[in-house]
């Protein structure tokens, strides 16, 4: 199986200059596949439809989490309502400031193992798929790779060799 067989074509994407609040809205209503709604991350494209980042739930969590807390052990000294008030403030910030800019991509004809290699080495859950011209055409999700692995495990050997 190749990347193009498993990827989910891109329906929605984000612009870098929208706010996190608008981005969260789009994450909620974006189509995951034919029947399901809601995604955990979306690619960010510029005016020329070039991929410049990915915004995931994790990035939004990080936008709310104060950077100083990662420097020391301060979790014990937080208060009720802190997260909510920081979230309110973060809602007005731009996607460009919080998206992940470290991009790891695959081509349509690459093998699935190449995706897994990227997912494990860079601790990512979704990999954008580019076509020959460098345009984003789809996404490979960890969940779908996992389903492929599951199928392979449970398939009967003769069937697997087909």
């Amino acid at each position: 199986m190749k990347v193009k067989d498993l990827m989910i074509p891109i329906h929605d994407f984000l612009r870098p200059d929208v706010t996190l609040k608008e981005a969260v809205n789009l994450l909620h209503i974006a189509r995951r596949d034919a029947e399901k709604q809601g995604v955990k991350g979306l690619p960010v494209l510029d005016d020329h439809y070039k991929l410049i980042g990915i915004l995931s739930m994790r990035d939004i969590l990080k936008a709310v989490y104060p950077s100083y807390m990662s420097m020391m052990n301060l979790g014990n000294f937080t208060w009720d309502g802190m997260l909510e008030s920081l979230a309110k403030r973060a809602g007005a910030e731009k996607v460009a400031a919080h998206m992940s800019r470290d991009l790891w991509t695959v081509q349509e004809n690459d093998s699935l193992m190449e995706c897994v290699d990227l997912m494990i080495k860079h601790d990512i859950k979704r990999v954008p798929v580019l076509d020959q011209s460098g345009k984003v055409v789809g996404m490979i999700y960890e969940r779908d790779v996992f389903n492929t692995i599951t199928n392979a495990m449970f398939d009967d050997p003769p069937e697997g060799e087909k």
Binding site: S67, Y68, M71, M72, N73, L74, N76, F77, T78, M82
Partner: protein, 456 residues
Amino acid sequence: MTPDAAAAPHQIVMGWPFWIATCIFIGAYALIVSEKIHKTTVAICGAALMIVLGIVTQEEAFHSLDLGADWNVIFLLISMMVIINIMKPTGVFEYIAIRSAKVAKGEPFKIMAIFSVVTAVVSAFLDNVTTVLLIAPVTLLICQALELDVVPYLITEALASNIGGTATLIGDPPNIMIASKAQLDFMAFIYNLSPVIIVVLIAYIISIKFIFGKRLTVREELKERIMAMDEREAIKDPVLLKKSLIVLAVTILGFVLHGMLQLQPATIALFGAGLLLLVSGIKDPHQVLAEAEWSTLFFFIGLFIIIGGVVKVGLIKWMSLEVLKITQGNFFGTAMIVMWFSAFASAFIDNIPYVATMNPLIIDMAKQLWPNLSGTQLLHHPDLMPIWWSLALGACLGGNGTAIGASANVIVVGMAEKMGSPISFKKFMLYGMPLMIESVIICTLYVWLRYYVLNI
């Protein structure tokens, strides 16, 4: 001072090696100031060039006390970094900071004053940057809890760390470098610098009370957030904490006694680091060692070799002769020029390369003045001592002048930006420069009174 000594040019041969070394030196410093290339990369390249072009031999660069890397400084820094890296996860620093905020009962100015004093005291024993990295995150949390502007707190802490760091041999890299070159011990710094730093700190607290005192207000109910914090929850590893505090106490006692024990400060620190690695039960020291600030350490090593090159070719001697021409044998005048020039130089350029250059310059100056003396007789000449202290005070306190004057300032400016409250260069200077000048005025009075009037 004998005028003849100053007039005698001694043989400085201004041949190819002189100009090559001078070009490497000026080029390297210009690149460091421009920040176009990382300063550590510049220092390593400059050092390598000095050796490749034959200005200094590898033997001199690696092993000479006068021309090469000063391992006393490097090992002292590495060892202190190791001790802190082991202590950090115990939670002791979070404990101290939360406890301080509670002692202040959530009163905004009291928090600022207590945090400044704590920062200054911790900074006297640890590196300034480390201190700020340990205190500032808790400060930001406290400010968020009290809905206070973080900027005044971050600025006052950075300034306090530079003030506190000036008080001891191990508090600030310039002091470590001066101590090593001038062979001054820990107690000499305590005896000569700590008294004036205490006065500077008191004046500083009074000044920030005037500057910020009235502006800081907090709603009563927010103070509850602070009082509800239990600092004991910060202690993650009480056993390691106890061991660390004992080793730290032994190490500081070692510093106090190192002069008597005839041991260098680096030896004491290395012993402390080794002992803590042993008793902490850390199986693989790799992580602790990897977290040392290698970039800073290599910056030092590179600089030492670059300076060694210009010392060897006579550039520093030439500069010292020029300084002697200006000062005309007036020692008080020399001390004052050194202090004020150092203060303003350090406000705009890194005080580490500055002091690395000034050390051999002052030693060369002493050699011109007292050609018959050598060793500690020369380095500790009664007329020279106030100049060393003026260098230390000027170079350390000068860092407070601007946002780029000291590494601690750069760190807090970066933190403020991440918090969405950027501190402009102008804004930092508006607070930093007057407070820096105030501190240097106090030091001027102190040096004049202590060494030129009372002679104690």
